[in-house]
């Protein structure tokens, strides 16, 4: 009986596990040069898994409440899996000639599996297990440009700092256990009384989350790691792992804040202000386009936190919707950037001057993605941000909304700097015409479709709202 339940409720996780085993066997038995089979097979399996996750889901609890799932969680997993699939499509070219393509997938999917367990966790133990499973393989992945020193440096920084943050979080969890005597989320949230020890523990847990979300001032690792890591991993870190943390935030942390909502709102406001302002100030100065994306993604976290600060269901729905939109926009931009980087090795904003002359199609894809990131209508990014800000406004604090709007204006400055480079600035030797394979083109097409259609069709947002249950 338990087995049948497991098959039903854990289908997403089991699917990933099966793919992992297939990959392991292929690695052991297969010929080293059969990369393309391996990549195509993995992509196909991921699609299959996505279909299963999206269409076969049910509510339920396993292992005495350790693991739970429902339609919202299935949607969240679907979004993560979808993003991973796009990244996998986009890194096709890079992996084709990589010796360790199978290991890449094994690590990447392990990390994804960790995230799934994290989102589905009903208990701090499973949560912590998932968190570590999600972060340790990422450090190995950050080191995947084996010959580059920067890559190793990024990996080292990532593993050290995430161990550090995990330690703080674990400390918080243990204090919480000490004061409440339980690790189950549902029981803990009933026992929270707002005592000083509990506040200490919640702050520590929050610190761990903020680190993963790269909210200021816990964000410093971001730029270094993003720059050093291979672009596929940068994409994964900046989109998927962030989305996973947001989802966990929605389902795990929000019950903990019930104890002292006013104070928490204050903390949120300060973090939001710092995150938006610092992210923007750093991004203005960046010349490396990967670092630029890193810092601009910090600013985006500020907006997400703004919606989460509302602490209600519209806020959660807005955040989930925005993550979906953000996956499309950010991966659209990073897809083109990785294509350029893979073919020419150029990564500076100034290298994109005259890009429109040689690659009109990619120039438009990059521009539309950037418009969506900047939140310009009618791209999906506009609606995503609008819903975030509307959700944030439900607290009636107009100052923070004004501040957020002003930051959007500032961010427009540096987003438009790229657009200007692409379309207006002259260049004698622009990036040569790009040649993507089928997979990369498919990945970009999906992103474009997402940016344009999730913006225009209200149905997507309605769907998110409905699955969130109101």
């Amino acid at each position: 009986m338990i087995f049948v339940n497991m098959m039903d409720l854990m289908n997403a996780e089991l699917g990933i596990v099966i793919i992992l085993f297939i990959l392991l066997f292929m690695k052991i038995l297969g010929k080293p040069e059969s990369n393309s089979t391996l990549l195509n097979l993995t992509n196909a399996l991921l699609v299959l898994n996505l279909v299963v996750v999206l269409f076969l889901n049910s509510d339920g609890v396993l292992f005495n409440g350790m693991f739970h799932t429902n339609h919202t969680i299935a949607l969240e997993k679907g979004i993560l899996l979808f993003g991973t699939l796009i990244i996998s499509l986009q890194s096709f070219k890079w992996l084709m000639h990589h010796k360790h393509a199978a290991e890449f997938y094994i690590l990447l999917l392990s990390s994804l599996l960790g995230m799934f367990y994290m989102i589905s966790s009903g208990n701090f133990l499973i949560f912590y297990l998932g968190l570590e499973l999600a972060s340790i393989p990422l450090a190995a992945l950050a080191n995947f440009n084996l010959k580059e020193k920067k890559s190793s440096e990024a990996a080292l920084k990532l593993i050290l700092l995430s161990a550090f943050a995990s330690a703080i979080m674990l400390f918080g969890i243990s204090i919480l256990y000490g004061t409440t005597g339980t690790l189950s989320f549902s029981e803990v949230s009933l026992l929270i009384s707002g005592g000083s020890l509990q506040i200490l523990s919640i702050v520590f847990i929050f610190t761990g989350f903020a680190f993963k979300l790269s909210a200021v001032p816990f964000h410093f690792w971001t730029a270094d790691v993003y720059e050093g890591a291979p672009i596929a991993i940068t994409s994964f870190l900046s989109v998927i792992s962030k989305a996973a943390m947001v989802f966990v935030f929605i389902s795990v942390l929000s019950p903990l804040f019930v104890s002292a909502p006013a104070v928490w709102y204050m903390v949120f406001l300060i973090i939001i202000v710092l995150t938006m302002a610092f992210g923007n100030l750093f991004a203005i100065r960046q010349n490396n386009i990967k670092r630029f994306i890193a810092f601009s993604s910090i600013t985006q976290v500020g907006y997400i936190l703004l919606a989460l600060s509302a602490g209600n269901k519209p806020g959660a729905a807005a955040a989930i919707y925005f993550m979906m939109v953000y996956i499309f926009s950010n991966l659209g931009a990073l897809g083109v950037i990785s294509l350029v980087s893979a073919q020419t090795g150029l990564e500076n904003i100034s290298d994109y001057r005259g890009f429109y002359k040689t690659n009109p199609v990619y120039a438009w894809i990059l521009s539309i993605s950037i418009f969506s990131l900047a939140g310009i209508p009618p791209t999906a990014g506009f609606f995503g941000k609008m819903f975030l800000v509307i959700a944030g406004a439900s607290k009636g604090n107009s100052m923070i909304i004004a501040f957020a709007s002003l930051n959007m204006v500032v961010s427009l400055y540096y987003y438009l700097k790229i657009i200007k480079a692409i379309f207006i600035d002259p260049n004698d030797s622009p990036v040569p015409a790009l040649k993507p394979g089928f997979s990369i083109a498919a990945g970009l097409a999906v992103c474009m479709f997402g940016i344009i259609f999730t913006g225009f069709a209200g149905g997507f947002y309605d769907y998110v709202i409905k699955t969130c249950g109101f």
Partner: protein, 658 residues
């Protein structure tokens, strides 16, 4: 009964062809983009004709059936802001929207076909067809809207497509200026429209037409609308007057009329479609759409509509008598005729006998669309032939252009209101409605009818008779030569240009016999329309007098026109200069606004705001330079920041909770 799929296809087909021609037209099929566009419109027209047939026969209990209900075919929730407030996209069928889709697709089809010949050899022909498709889509979306927000979106879309098409010859400075003028003035009026719809929907708490009309016109629900007032008028009056102001902008009512004559810089078929038959009646349409609110809840706003319409119709007719550019004459005539439709709505009641005005207005909209499109397409044919817009360069063309001549004459008779042409019937109904409601407006309408007959036959005689051109025609030697050469080449015009002329000509004769009273009424119940021959005597005689005067003055070459102009010296000059309205606008904008408001504001902007912004920018970039040092690259530093952050939050808790 109504299948949403094929009704949705009516606007969506032009939308697809817009994308298709726009994206692929130039590279994939430069030659066939125009045919693709035309074919799509043809399908769209067939579908709308089918829908109309279904709606008026099967749909509501037969041709003589009692009611023509409003049917929401579908309503898709586009954006859900809150459980009570959402923005929908949908399709609503009622008698006026059904009539409008038929008119729009039909005239659009005629114009598409006509353009095949007229625009042949133009450089950007696929752009042209792409914009035409966009316009058709937007106009169809506008008339089918289920809610006020949707109508606003399409309202702006028709504005933008009109802008694109007026400026189609973007190498001509005049065309660029005209497109800007049209866009800015209608945008300005649209501001009123936007404020108006915001007022209406704020107080009625809905965007949906049906709910809005119900809430606003039921006294129990519209309490706030009438109670809350501003400058002595209720919110409802403000809302309705502002909505009408937006409509006046699109429909070129005084004082927003100045963009329409300039808009004639666009290609002539475009003028026929947008600036004669369809888009410019959007203002009439919006008033008709909200008509129950106007007539039941706020007769004051309806009086504004009536007065504006009546004044504009007379005013524009007088100007039309003095213009020499044939398209401008037609443009002023359009303004005047839309004024007719407006005041017909303005004098109308909601039900029973007094609601004749509503039916008459819609009837005139329908007939006017036919004969005015015909006049414009005829003018297009003449311009195509003569290569000039000036009356001075024309004359005696009846032999060279026989088909154009006959069809143009039919249209002239129709607009002059000579029985049995279509304009006669609709104009009679309008005058009858005015007679029953307001005698002053009736006399204004009567005089306008006489002037209309005069100026339209002045145009006709100048173009087709009057063998030598009047005094101020210059450069006509060259054009005459080109006639001679063209005449030798055989046929007068390509067949694609003749077919629409002939079809529209036939319709201009028979359209007046449509049983409008049974089809389109304010409240959906049929209205018995009686034809009263005695009543028609005065208008017809006056029209005949107008025609005769035109014949005396312009039928043959003589110096009577100059003498008449000299006799009316001051008045003639004022009318020729369009009563200096453009100059007034220029004075207000350039002298008053730019000088006394713009300059100080510009100074303030440059010296106070910009300087502060520069300073802010400098300090931001300075700050970003400073904090960049925090990003040291050392792991131990980062770890300290993390701990610092956690400790900071803890202190915050201590500080706030204690």
């Amino acid at each position: 009964m109504f299948n949403p799929v094929y009704i949705a296809l009516i606007p969506l087909l032009p939308f697809f062809s817009f994308w298709l021609i726009g994206l692929a037209g130039r590279s994939l099929f430069p030659k066939y983009g125009s045919y693709a566009g035309t074919l799509v419109i043809l399908v769209s027209f067939i579908l709308s004709a089918f829908v109309a047939w279904q709606y008026f026969t099967i749909g509501s209990g037969g041709m003589t059936g009692a009611m023509h209900p409003q049917i929401i075919v579908f309503n898709y929730t586009w954006l859900q802001f809150s459980p009570s407030l959402s923005i929908n996209m949908g399709i609503m069928l009622d008698s006026i929207s059904v009539m409008m889709i038929v008119i729009v697709t039909f005239i659009s089809l005629m114009v598409h076909i006509f353009s095949l010949g007229y625009m042949k050899g133009e450089r950007n022909i696929s752009n042209y067809y792409c914009f035409l498709s966009l316009f058709t889509f937007s106009m169809l979306g506008l008339v089918l809207s289920t809610n006020i927000f949707q109508i606003y979106i399409f309202w702006e879309l028709v504005g933008i497509s009109s802008f694109l098409l007026i400026g189609f010859y973007y190498e001509k400075p005049a065309a660029v200026a005209a497109s800007k003028k049209a866009f800015i003035i209608t945008r300005f009026a649209d501001l009123g429209f936007l404020i108006g719809i915001l007022i209406l929907s704020y107080y009625t708490k809905t965007l949906d037409f049906q709910t809005l009309i119900r809430n606003a016109s039921t006294p129990a629900l519209s309490g706030d609308l009438i109670k809350s007032s501003f400058l002595g008028f209720s919110a409802l009056s403000w809302g309705l007057v502002l909505v009408f102001a937006g409509g006046a902008g699109k429909s070129a009512m005084f004082p927003f009329h100045i963009w329409l004559p300039d808009a004639m810089e666009g290609p002539t078929p475009v003028s026929a479609l947008i600036h004669a038959a369809t888009m410019v009646v959007a203002g009439v349409y919006i008033v008709a759409r909200l008509f129950p609110v106007y007539s039941m809840a706020c007769p004051g706003a309806l009086n504004v509509v009536a007065c504006t319409g009546a004044f504009t119709s007379l005013f524009a007719a007088i100007i039309a008598c003095t213009q020499t550019d044939i398209k401008r004459v037609l443009a002023y005539s359009t303004i005047s005729q839309i004024g007719y439709m407006m005041f017909a709505l303005g004098v109308s009641g909601y039900s029973g006998e007094p609601s004749l005005g509503f039916t008459a207005s819609m009837f005139h909209l329908f007939t006017h669309a036919n004969f005015k499109a015909l006049l414009f397409l005829g003018a297009g044919a003449i311009i195509h032939y003569v290569h000039s817009n000036e009356m001075g360069n024309m004359g005696g063309l009846r032999k060279a252009l026989p088909v154009t001549h006959i069809t143009f004459l039919i249209a002239c008779l129709a607009i002059a209101g000579i029985p049995p042409f279509s304009g006669f019937f609709s104009k009679e109904e309008i005058l009858m409605a005015a007679w029953n409601a307001n005698k002053l407006i009736y006399y204004v309408g009567l005089i306008t009818a006489a002037i209309t007959a005069f100026y339209i036959f002045r145009l006709y005689f100048n173009i087709f008779w009057h063998t030598t051109p009047p005094a101020h025609g210059n450069g006509n030697e060259a054009t005459r030569d080109s006639h001679a050469r063209k005449n030798k080449s055989g046929r007068e015009l390509p067949v694609t240009m003749l077919i629409p002329l002939i079809i529209l000509g036939i319709l201009s004769v028979v359209a007046g016999f449509a049983p409008f009273g049974k089809l389109i009424t304010a409240n959906g119940t049929p209205l018995p329309m009686t034809f009263q021959p005695l009543f028609s005597i005065a208008p017809v005689l006056l029209a005949a007098a107008g025609i005769y005067t035109a014949y005396v003055l312009y039928g043959k070459e003589n110096n009577l026109p100059q003498r008449a102009a000299a006799a009316l010296n001051g008045f003639y000059r004022a009318a020729y200069k369009k009563f200096y309205i453009d100059e007034v606008y220029l004075f207000i904008t350039k002298k008053v606004i730019f000088h006394s408001i713009g300059k100080p504001v510009a100074w303030f902007d440059r010296n106070i705001i910009d300087r502060n912004i520069d300073r802010t920018g400098e300090s931001v970039s300075g700050l970003s330079f400073v904090i960049r040092k925090l990003q040291s690259g050392k792991v131990q530093d980062y770890a300290i920041y993390i701990v610092g952050g956690a400790v900071g939050i803890l202190f915050l808790f201590l500080y706030i909770t204690s």
